[in-house]
């Protein structure tokens, strides 16, 4: 993970619901706490990052939400405005409203135009060295390829023009494994693991961007060691004694632990499968799978982000052993 924080640009993706935004915020927090000037950027303007960071709302202009930690929310229109100002030197900024609206339509239909504006903005921040690390709360696993692959698509599609020239320096940043990486967040469940595995195996081929790490979120703790497990397994024999001593809910207490443990084991199997699929990829994907424990706190927000950040900081560079 030391090397993870040494990247310039880190895209955080994951299947919907796995905790992508909280994890992106937590990585940014770890980076900021380690003394790196960090920018975290939400791409879909849904406001999830703002609530993860415990601020009211985020805007295209970054704000410092904690020491060393800056946050912004991407806006295609603002990115276009800035782009035109910086590169095309269009003076009539005030009148760009309707133009941007029209552009939005083109962008919606023309592949990659919208994406390249937002990806371009982030690459620009990298190029200008405004931060040590930029963490992006990016699109979900289903759409991330379209997002970070946009410069490649444009380079393939557009033969001449300013955009074409612009894509080359972006690709130089994006395709450099020492500068840009993708963190895939997953939960130890079948579907998120399957999608993560599929994404990781095609990511570099389709976008030129390299995967950096898998973050397994909400990993359940091991409750019992081997000797204790032997006791748990035969505890039903003593259940009457337990009920007699602590009341009729003793069975449910035992069931809750078994239930949690069964979920943990299933989850560990999925993560083990992910590891072997990544190892079996061609070329093998030797990226680490690091784990963040289940926090048993389902309300998101600043506290959860800090707890995830603690977990991440602990788990740095530790690979999850496959469960067997």
């Amino acid at each position: 993970m030391t090397s993870l924080l040494d990247l310039d640009l880190l895209w955080v993706t994951g299947k919907g619901g796995v905790g992508k935004t909280s994890t992106a915020a937590a990585i940014a927090e770890v980076a900021a706490r380690s003394g790196r000037s960090t920018l975290v950027c939400e791409m879909d303007a849904k406001g999830a990052l703002a609530s993860a960071l415990g601020v009211d709302e985020l805007d295209f202009t970054p704000v410092e939400v904690a020491s060393n930690l800056h946050a912004m929310s991407m806006s295609t229109e603002d990115a276009l405005r800035e782009y035109l100002r910086l590169f095309v030197r269009i003076p009539f900024i005030g009148r760009i409203g309707p133009l941007a609206k029209t552009f939005d339509f083109v962008a919606d239909a023309a592949p990659g135009v919208k994406e390249i504006l937002s990806v371009g903005k982030l690459c620009f921040e990298v190029r200008e060295q405004n931060y040590d690390l930029i963490v992006v709360d990016a699109e979900s696993t289903g759409h991330i390829v379209s997002q970070i692959g946009a410069p490649k698509v444009i380079a393939d599609l557009v033969q001449v023009g300013l955009v074409r020239e612009q894509t080359q320096w972006m690709l130089d940043i994006l395709n450099d494994a020492d500068r840009t990486g993708v963190a895939v967040v997953t939960t130890p469940e079948e579907m998120p693991v399957t999608e993560s595995s599929e994404l990781l195996r095609r990511l570099t081929l389709e976008t030129g961007v390299h995967p950096a790490v898998v973050i397994a979120n909400r990993v359940l703790p091991v409750l019992f060691d081997r000797r204790e497990q032997a006791v748990v397994d035969q505890l039903d024999a003593a259940l009457p004694t337990l009920i007699n001593a602590v009341g009729p809910g003793a069975g449910a207490v035992l069931e809750a632990a078994r239930f949690t443990d069964a979920r943990r084991r299933t989850g560990a199997q999925h993560l083990g499968r992910l590891r072997s699929e990544l190892d079996a990829a061609d070329p093998p994907l030797n990226i680490p799978i690091i784990t963040v424990p289940e926090l048993f706190a389902r309300n998101g927000g600043r506290r959860v982000v800090s707890l995830i950040a603690d977990g991440l900081a602990d788990e740095l560079d530790i690979e999850i052993p496959s469960d067997r």
């Binding site: 849904k46 029209t102 557009v158 079948e190 579907m191 399957t194 003593a238 004694t241 602590v246 069931e255």
Partner: protein, 388 residues
């Protein structure tokens, strides 16, 4: 009959919606099985998820745009008795678009030109909303053929579930937009149109004239198909609000999915569409958070030292020290489960204000990846829970 059987028997189309990762695909497949168990006739489950999950769940290697029937033998093997036929199809966005172009193109020349246009090829595979629209389009198509008695649609994972509902009107809007009119005025004369001049100057410098020309060419072709597209989009829109159509919103009781579910339920209500049921997936068994259990967990923590000896005596080869550790762990860890369960109970109560039918599916410890598992899920959907 249970609520879910009523729903599946009274509608011709059921759209399964909800945020990503809540188990929509699995629930849609289980509903297909539930319908096939109780109804004669042909039931189709249409999945639009690019991850090809339904195929795996149903033991099919490859499912495409053309519906495939699940072999009756597979149900027999899985011990699931069915009366109807269950068919599965998966939306192939690219093939779906090609099909649309073939249908709406006024002549072979336009058709071939569109299909060969490099932009078209990119747009159809990358246009983020194209999944949404195509799902609706194909639903309409399948319904119109009358081949199926019931079509269950697993809607695409969207950033915003609403985009499915809005997909047809967005398509209509697109054809009516000034942008399309601008783009489709012949390129040369357009440069002299005062209104579009600033736009083209900028667009020209930013995108390059060649790319712009490609875009323009594409939209000129596309506009030739306006009539067919708009008519179709209107029909799809009407179908969504039709009395024969119902939505099923799937959610878990986690923060983000339940928020999305509430939002979606409200949007359906506002649009006069029918919310047939809300499926709450991965619910913790209620008894795990009951008062009895909480009391016992607390008592266990207190009584543990004395209990350990008594319990150890009844077990094989167990030291009182290990037993004491186990009992402590049981009592302490119970709080985690109880905390989650009580939060979930609260959220479920909030969701219940939106739907008259709530279907709870417990958190199953094993993953569902075969017909037997889906059959079990169908049974859970049949357990009517008391609302409120």
């Amino acid at each position: 009959m249970s609520e879910v059987d009523n729903l599946l028997a009274s509608r011709e189309m059921v759209l399964v919606a909800g945020s990503g990762g809540v188990g929509k695909t699995t629930i849609a497949a289980a509903m297909g099985i539930a319908a096939a168990q109780r109804q004669k006739g042909k039931i189709l489950v249409l999945t639009v998820d690019p991850a090809k999950r339904l195929a795996t769940a149903l033991g099919l290697d490859e499912v495409g745009n053309t519906p495939v029937r699940i072999e009756p033998a597979m149900f027999t093997e899985a011990g699931v008795a069915v009366r109807g036929e269950l068919w599965v199809a998966m939306l192939d966005t690219k093939a779906g678009w090609d099909e649309l172009i073939r249908r709406h193109a006024p002549d072979a020349q336009v058709r071939d030109a569109v299909l060969a246009n490099p932009l078209y090829q990119n747009i159809t595979s990358r246009f983020v909303h194209s999944h949404d629209y195509l799902a609706m389009e194909q639903l309409h198509d399948l319904h119109a053929t009358g081949d199926f008695d019931l079509v269950i649609v697993d809607t695409p994972p969207s950033r915003n579930a609403l985009s499915i509902l809005d997909a047809p009107s967005r398509m209509i809007e697109f054809f009516g937009s000034r942008l399309l009119r601008w783009l489709t005025v012949p390129y040369r004369s357009r440069l002299f149109t005062v209104a579009s001049k600033p736009f083209y100057q900028v667009a020209d410098r930013v995108l390059g004239s060649r790319f712009l020309q490609d875009i323009a060419d594409f939209f000129v072709l596309f506009q030739a198909m306006e009539k067919g597209f708009v008519k179709r989009a209107r029909a799809v829109e009407a179908l969504l609000a039709d009395a024969r159509t119902a939505f099923v919103v799937v959610t878990t009781l986690e923060t983000a999915p339940s928020h999305e579910a509430k939002f979606l339920a409200q949007a359906l209500l506002n649009r006069g569409m029918t919310l047939g049921a809300m499926v709450v997936n991965r619910v913790l068994p209620a008894r795990l958070a009951g008062n009895d259990a909480i009391a016992s967990a607390n008592a266990l923590l207190e009584a543990r030292p004395e209990l350990a000896d008594a319990v150890a005596e009844q077990l094989d080869d167990a030291s009182p020290v290990t037993v004491a550790a186990v009992l402590a762990q049981l009592a302490e860890r119970f709080d985690d489960v109880a905390l989650v369960a009580s939060r979930e109970t609260e959220r479920r109560a909030e969701l219940a204000t939106f739907a008259t039918t709530m279907l709870d599916v417990p958190w199953l410890t094993g993953d569902i990846h075969d017909i037997a598992g889906l059959g079990k899920l169908a049974e859970y959907l049949r357990v009517d829970s008391v609302n409120g």
